[in-house]
């Protein structure tokens, strides 16, 4: 709602000019313009993410209980291991507590590229394979950040496999095999498949300065 300064009529928020006297308010016009700009950004982002979704059919999330980790796949779609859909769209979502979501850094990059207001700035992000983990208990922040760090390491690279398996008694590889067996439509149906399909990273030489 906005109030016309001329006739004090209470207009609906979407009205560009006063419905009673046709008076326009520059501040309201500016606000509407900005909202339109943002709508364009959001629309462009959603279009891009939908296009990405169309190329792949992946929905992944990590449920991280106190003693187990599960990769689930469902009907909602993402590409390159990126979650695009609301958790509530996932079958059985009510019983799934998502604490790990892939693709957040790619989404950040998308927003910067397609959004406005960051002209003249350059953004450098870490590897897109990072999975975002939110904490449910206050004491777990260190563990959640460690999980984010581990998720960004190149699981598909044999050189790293040995190191990463040490964290879960070989279940990194078990998880990889299992998800491929149960999800035969495409290897990219799980993050590990995506990473493996993409080939090992260039290795660690790029990380040493």
């Amino acid at each position: 709602m906005w109030t016309c300064k001329k006739c004090t009529f209470e207009n609906d928020a979407v009205e560009r000019a006063c419905a009673m006297c046709s008076e326009t308010d520059p501040a309201i016009l500016l606000q509407l313009q900005r909202e339109e700009e943002e709508l364009q950004v959001v629309t462009a982002l959603k279009r891009k993410w939908d296009e990405d979704d169309a190329r792949s059919s992946v929905f992944e999330e990590w449920e991280d209980g106190e003693d187990d980790a599960v990769v689930t796949t469902g009907n909602s779609s993402t590409s390159s291991g990126q979650q695009r859909s609301s958790v509530n769209n996932h079958p059985g979502a009510a019983s799934v507590s998502t604490s790990g979501v892939a693709g957040l850094t790619t989404q950040i990059a998308d927003i910067i590229r397609l959004g406005g207001g960051m002209a003249g700035r350059t953004v450098r992000l870490c590897t897109p394979s990072l999975v975002y983990f939110a904490q449910r208990d206050s004491y777990t922040c260190g563990y959640r950040n460690l999980q984010m760090l581990l998720s960004s390491l190149p699981q598909g690279d044999p050189k790293w496999t040995c190191a990463l398996q040490k964290f879960s008694n070989g279940r990194f590889s078990v998880l990889f095999v299992t998800t491929q067996i149960f999800n035969t439509r495409a290897r990219r149906h799980c993050a590990f498949g995506v990473r493996a399909a993409a080939g090992p990273r260039a290795g660690m030489e790029g990380w040493i300065r």
């Binding site: 900005r34 910067i112 350059t122 870490c126 004491y139 563990y143 390491l153 964290f167 990194f172």
Partner: protein
């Protein structure tokens, strides 16, 4: 992904193998099944134990105005503009950064995130946002596990918040972009993954945890 429980197990195994004995004592040599907090040194310890070369950096002096840490910003900016990131030719990244025009560019590199610790909490640095014409005008891109995904990126909120600044990207990413004035803790620690240890002897040599002081 290893669970919290598995990470706790890994940390105890690292201690049993003789990694970071001092840290082990501080936490009573036991962490599995407890609600004990772990910090940057514990993260570095468990990574080293697994054979991952992790360095610990200490930023103990706030050199900037109002208690800010420009050294920390410079360190992260240098890290993410390292010449070998994403197949770029040596020495080209920073110069390209400075020369780039008004169009914003966002690049995902092959670099890992950085573990950021300060008193009482830790976060994950996932990138840096620099004004092309002024390297000192930088924001860090930080994910905070204390917030939900929708808090990190406003686009995930329902309903989507209204942008009133005319700068949609800035508004949508306000939960992620952190400017220097918001990092004013007395000291910070970073854990930076630099690759794998080249040999078993190098891994074993990393048992004693030391940090690099940035002063």
């Amino acid at each position: 992904m290893p669970s919290v429980y598995e990470l706790q197990q890994a940390l105890e195994l690292a201690w049993k193998d003789g990694f970071d004995k001092q840290g082990s004592k501080q936490l009573g040599e036991r962490v599995v099944g407890t609600r004990k907090w772990i910090g940057a040194s514990d993260v570095a310890t468990v990574l080293r134990w697994a054979g991952i070369h992790a360095e610990l950096y200490d930023f103990t002096v706030a050199r900037g105005s109002n208690g800010t840490h420009p050294d920390l910003f410079n360190f992260v900016a240098d890290f993410y503009t390292t010449p070998k990131a994403k197949g770029e030719a040596p020495s080209s990244a920073l110069s390209a950064l400075m020369k780039s025009g008004s169009t914003p560019t966002a690049t995902n590199t092959d670099l890992p995130p950085i573990f950021l610790q300060h008193f009482g909490h830790s976060r994950t640095i996932v990138g840096v946002d620099i004004r092309s014409s002024d390297k000192n005008d930088a924001h860090l891109l930080i994910l905070d596990p204390a917030f939900s995904q929708s808090k990190q990126i406003a686009l995930r909120q329902r309903p989507i918040p209204i942008v009133r600044t005319g700068r949609p990207s800035v508004t949508l990413l306000r939960g992620v972009r952190v400017e220097a004035s918001r990092l004013v803790a007395k000291q910070y620690q970073l854990v930076v993954v630099k690759g794998l240890y080249p040999s078993e002897s190098a891994r074993l040599a990393s048992k004693l945890l030391t940090s690099i002081q940035i002063t």
